[in-house]
Structure formats: structure tokens, C-alpha cells
């Protein structure tokens, strides 16, 4: 037992002398101090979500490394408990996602799974997590995730599409748009967002002048673009992803048709702007959960991610950071108990108000250890989970100016809820 713990604490050998007192505290209060917190990282590393999934996977590794090296909780890692990651690829495909989840649960005996991206994958993996009694943190936005019978094991850091469509409706209103074109990807996300937006927009007296549903991986989108822009709408809603967005915008610009696009921030990401160039992106409206650029969580993930990759932390990277922070804080608050039920019991306590506002391990760990109630304010949003495990965050309406998002107006969560 002692040997085991020494091995786990091995990395801290140099600091051991200074920590004699701390160890006594740990020994007295902690359940199984040596057993690591095993986290299953289940993101798309290939397929449609590869772009985001690889970045998320990287983020989990970076934060785990930071927490494992930190002694903020009194011992390295989570009070002497190392975080151990097991990575599987969902291939953006429910079948592969289920295979990955089964392996993580049965072979690696993980205590939580983080990172499922596509809604289809999340909904396929969730029953496995519920059965294993471990939490699942996802970034998917399908409304079906709200109603899924999850015994409170399913959490998401992205807002539901039904909320998103309200946000886009308000954005169109704030832009004084009376006509809109919609260009949507042929999948549940694109259709869900595009059509619920159109419904709200027409009900409020607006007119949809062109609706185009496109398939990904086309050799050209010229005709689709022409059609969506046909009635010269005040604004064109884009509900797709970054890779198809890059291709569509490149062709749109080269058609010279003009028009104002609006779309979600995960599509019009910094990488998107870099790819199509500041000139083509200029003036495009970006609607995104205000990434708490002022929060310590965002500053920290930006530091970690940019330091490792040279790229800015996008919204999915921010969410990945939030997942692992919340899971780690929950284990610390549960005094080292890594059982799924124990983690679950702490999730809302550490992330919802009231409590001391924290955003990094260095801020959170000493506070939790000191017995304070904490309120995690994440990098992707405030991460306050409702009964369904959903979040509602304020959104920002940005305009791309000289290659960066410039905040134009805010869309408060309360405004959307009152629609």
C-alpha cells in the first residue's frame, strides 16, 4: 500500500520533505489515495469531427499534465491522485464510438468519459455510461440529449440547438434583418438549427428567401451558394462546420456575389478565418457563447493550448478544458473518491453558484481543500448545469474585423429563454 502510493507520488519526490504535513492530511481523510483518476478521452480523431476532436484530445492531455504536476491540492495531481488518460477514437461514428466506450469501461475501468462530439455518438455512448454509473461530458447540441434518461450521468458544456435557434433569431433581429437565406448542412445539427431558425423567423414576420440543404464533400458549392443568395437576403445563416465552410466561403468570395453571413463560432473559427483570409471573412457575423475571454479559465487554456500548438483555443478546446477541470474538482471535493456516483454528486456543487469563483486548478484546488464552496466559471461559459445537465450561457454577436472576432452586441441567456 505504502509502496504503491510512493510510486504514484514518485514525481513529487523532490518536494516530499516539504509536504510531510500535507501527507498526513491526505492519509487521514482520503479514500484510496494511490488509485489514479482514470479518464476516458473519447473524441473524433478521424472523420467529420477530426478537426475539433484532435484539438480536444490534446487539451485533455495538456490539462492532465498541468494538474499532475501541480501541488495546489496538497499533493501532486488531485491530492496525490494522478490523472490517467485513456484515448479512443470515435471516428465521428456511433459504431466506433460504442466500441471505444466499451473498451474504456470494460478494459480500462475509467471513472468518467469526456469529449464525445457528434450528437449521434453521444446518444449511442450515453447508455453505456449510465449502465456503468460513470459521468459522460459531451459537447453535442442535439435537443435529444436534454430528454435522454441519463440518471443524471450525462452533462454537456454546449447549449442545446433549441437554444441556439433562439440565439440566431435574436441575432437576426439585432441586425434588423427582414429577409434571410439559409445554407445548412444535411445532418441533424444543420437541419435542426436551420429549420427551427426559419420557423421562428417567419413567425415573427421575416421572410426566408432561399433555403439550401447541402451535402458535405462536394466538388463545388457554386450552385448552392447562388441559390441561397438568390433573393438578396439581408442575412444568410450558415449552419455547417469549418471544413465545408472554408470551401463554401472560398467559392462564395470568388463568385463575387456579396451578402452578409452569420453562423456559429465553431464554424467561423480562427482557423476558418486564417484559411479563407481576412479579406473574405470581413464583416461576417459570428454568434457564439461568449468565450469568457476575461475568465481565468480561458486565459489558462489559451496559455496551455497556444503554448503547445501555436494556435488559439477555440470553443471546443475550451469545453475540453472545462470537462476535465470539473471532473477533477469533483474528485477533490469528494475527498478523492473516484466512483462515478461520488463524482456525479459533486459536479453541480463545484460548477454552479453560489461559491468562490474559480477557473484554474491553482485557484480551485486550495479553495476546495480549505472547505470553501466553489463556483467554476469555465473557459467555454459559466458551466452552470440545470437539472438535465444542460448549460445556458450568454452569447456574443461578433463581427469579423481584420481577421478577428470583434464583439458587437451581447445576447443574454435570459433574453433567449423569454422568447
Amino acid at each position: 500500500m505504502t509502496m504503491n502510493r510512493r510510486q504514484i507520488l514518485g514525481t513529487a519526490a523532490g518536494a516530499a520533505a516539504a509536504m510531510v504535513g500535507e501527507r498526513a492530511w491526505l492519509r487521514a481523510a482520503w479514500a484510496q489515495p494511490g488509485e489514479p483518476l482514470r479518464i476516458g478521452v473519447l473524441t473524433p480523431l478521424t472523420g467529420g469531427g477530426a478537426l475539433y476532436g484532435t484539438a480536444m484530445s490534446r487539451t485533455y492531455a495538456l490539462l492532465a499534465e498541468e494538474i499532475n504536476a501541480s501541488t495546489a491540492s496538497g499533493g501532486p495531481g488531485i491530492g496525490g491522485k494522478a490523472i490517467q488518460l485513456f484515448v479512443e477514437d470515435t471516428q465521428t461514428n456511433p459504431d466506433a464510438g460504442v466500441r471505444g466506450a466499451r473498451k474504456l469501461v470494460d478494459v480500462n475501468k475509467v471513472h468518467a468519459i469526456v469529449g464525445t462530439w457528434s450528437s449521434a455518438v453521444t446518444l449511442a455512448v450515453a447508455p453505456i455510461c449510465v449502465q456503468a454509473r460513470i459521468p459522460l461530458f459531451c459537447v453535442s447540441s442535439s435537443p435529444a440529449i436534454t430528454t435522454f434518461k441519463d440518471d443524471d450521468f450525462l452533462y454537456r458544456t454546449s447549449t442545446s440547438q433549441s437554444f441556439w435557434s433562439g440565439v440566431f433569431f435574436l441575432a437576426a433581429k439585432k441586425l434588423n434583418a427582414r429577409t434571410a437565406g439559409i445554407m445548412i448542412l444535411n445532418n441533424p445539427y444543420g437541419l435542426g438549427l436551420g429549420d427551427t431558425f426559419a420557423e421562428r423567423f417567419t413567425k415573427a414576420g421575416g421572410k426566408v428567401t432561399g433555403r439550401v440543404v447541402y451535402n458535405p464533400n462536394q466538388p463545388s458549392y457554386r450552385s448552392e451558394i447562388q441559390q441561397a443568395l438568390g433573393g438578396k437576403p439581408d442575412v444568410i445563416l450558415f449552419a455547417g462546420y469549418t471544413p465545408d465552410g472554408i470551401q463554401i466561403f472560398k467559392e462564395w468570395f470568388q463568385l463575387g456575389l456579396g451578402g452578409t453571413w452569420m453562423g456559429p463560432g465553431f464554424a467561423f473559427s480562427p482557423q476558418f478565418i486564417q484559411s479563407i483570409g481576412a479579406q473574405a471573412a470581413e464583416g461576417t457575423v459570428v454568434v457564439e457563447a461568449s468565450p469568457r475571454q476575461d475568465s481565468s479559465a480561458y486565459r489558462n487554456v489559451q496559455k496551455l493550448y497556444k503554448g503547445a500548438t501555436g494556435q488559439d483555443a477555440d470553443v471546443f478546446v475550451s469545453m475540453a478544458y472545462d470537462h476535465l477541470m470539473i471532473a477533477s474538482m469533483s474528485v477533490l471535493a469528494a475527498r478523492g473518491d473516484v466512483a462515478g456516483e461520488a463524482i456525479k454528486a459533486q459536479i453541480r456543487k463545484v460548477s454552479n453558484p453560489p461559491g468562490k469563483v474559480v477557473g484554474t486548478w491553482a485557484e480551485a484546488a486550495p479553495a476546495i481543500r480549505g472547505g470553501d464552496t466553489v463556483n467554476y466559471e469555465g473557459a467555454s461559459g459559466s458551466c452552470d448545469f440545470d437539472e438535465a445537465g444542460d448549460v445556458f450561457t450568454d452569447f456574443g454577436l461578433y463581427r469579423i474585423k481584420a481577421g478577428t472576432w470583434a464583439l458587437d452586441q451581447t445576447i443574454a441567456a435570459a433574453e433567449v429563454k423569454s422568447l
Binding site: 463545388s220 457554386r222 447562388q226 441559390q227 468570395f253 479563407i276
Partner: protein, 288 residues
Amino acid sequence: MLLVGELVHLTVTGVLIASLLALAAVGLSLSFGVARFANVAHPDFMMVGAYATFAYNVGLGLAFPAAAALGIASALAIGVAVAWLAFDRLPVTGNVQLLIVSIGVSFILRHVALLIFGASPAQFAVPLQRPWVWGPVRLTANQIVTLAVAGGLVLAVHLLLSRTRLGRILRAMADSPALCQVSGVDTGRSRLLMWAIAVLLGAVAGVLFGLNLVLQPNMGWDLIILIFAATILGGIGSPYGALAGSLVLGITLEWSTLVIPFQYKEMLAFGAMALCLMFRPRGLFGGR
């Protein structure tokens, strides 16, 4: 008038798609005629050409024309070496076995690209262009270059096949490899030259694709159905047919959007293909 404008726009788009498809389909058709198996890795030669150019253009910072020339040359070396090793040297015979080998080659090529370049869409360091507008026709300089290069190369293949000794040999090999061999033709060497032509056409198509759109390791794979359809529609083994097949497919793909929503356009295009094949089972130019 509005409809005419739309029809013109759709036709131009269809021809642009067809020009890219045709380059790949002509090469595929040629290799099918001579090597007698469906090379599933053929569209991946597009990807190799595009990423090799990307490496010179963005990685080493060379100007685009120089990078494209070097990229196509590198792709030629890689592609011919791969085809020679996998399709000519492996002790595997039979069309089905070679088909399976080519699926493996396709996976390897794509995953190597994924490993080196990552999954993110990549682009050449070429600024976006504003189009020239002639009524409903909107074309950028790069798109005109694409049409010219594709047209020129297809014409060159035509001349090669009809006017040169190599062309005669390739056509003879497509008809009867055994007869060719007993007539004293070095079939191994001719096959190698055929791979070179096929890879060259594919690599150029890839570079043009990248110039107009974006690069992804799956870029060839995503087009595989369209490329094979164009080849089959034209008549397997007939390069002229591949050109015609590409045009028919590209234009029906776009025209079909006048009557059905965009997400179903493949349905009508492939329906048209099925209809064509009902009346001409060996393809538009098949039936030799």
C-alpha cells in the same frame, strides 16, 4: 431570362466540376483498359499531387507555379513507384485481388497524408480572386486556367493514344495483352508508362482541385464515386468516354437542382447514368 441565367450558371459550374473529374477519370479509364482492374487508389493520386504541391508551396515557400511543377513531378515519382510496387511487382494476379490491393494502397496513402499534414483543411498560398462577370457567367482567372489545363491535357492524351507508337501499344495492350507480348512489345515498360500518364493526370487534377477548393487527405476518396461513375458512364477503358462521362455527370448534377433540392442532386445524376447504361450497357464510348 432568369431561368436562362440560372441554366448558364449551372452549366458553367457543371463544366468546372467535369474538368476536374475528367482528368481523374481519363487516367482511371486508361489504367483500367491496360491493367484490367479498378484502381480504387487512383483518386488518391490527386491527393498526393495536391499535398506534394502544398509542401513546396507552403512548407518551403516556393511560388505556386514552381511548387506545382515540383509537386506534380514528386507525385509522379511517388505514384509510379507505388503503382509499380503494389500492382506490378506483388505476386498477386486477378482483378479482384488487385482491386483489394488498391483499396489497401488507398488507405495507406491517405493515412500517410493524415500523419504528415493532419486532418485540417489546407490551402495553397494563393490569394483568393474576384471573378470576371459576363452576364450570368462568373469565372476567376484560376478557374479559366483550370479549364484550359484540363482541356489541353485531355487533348494531349487523345493525341498520344491516336498518333504515337506508345499510344498504339497501349491500345493494343487493352485489346489483347497476350498478342502484344508475342509481337515483341515490352509490356512491363509500357505498363509503367501507362501508370506515369495516369498518375500525372491525377496529380494535375489534384493541384487544380486544390487551387479552386481546399486540400484534405480525403479529397480524392470523397470524389471516388463520381470519378468511377464518369468512367463507367463513358465506357470503361475509353479515355474519350471518360471525358464525355464527366461532362454528362457534372452537368446533370447541376441541372438536376432546377427540379429537386440540392441534397438529392446525386440521385438524379446517378439516375441519368443508370438510364444511359440501360441503352448503352458498355458506356457512351464503350463497345470496342
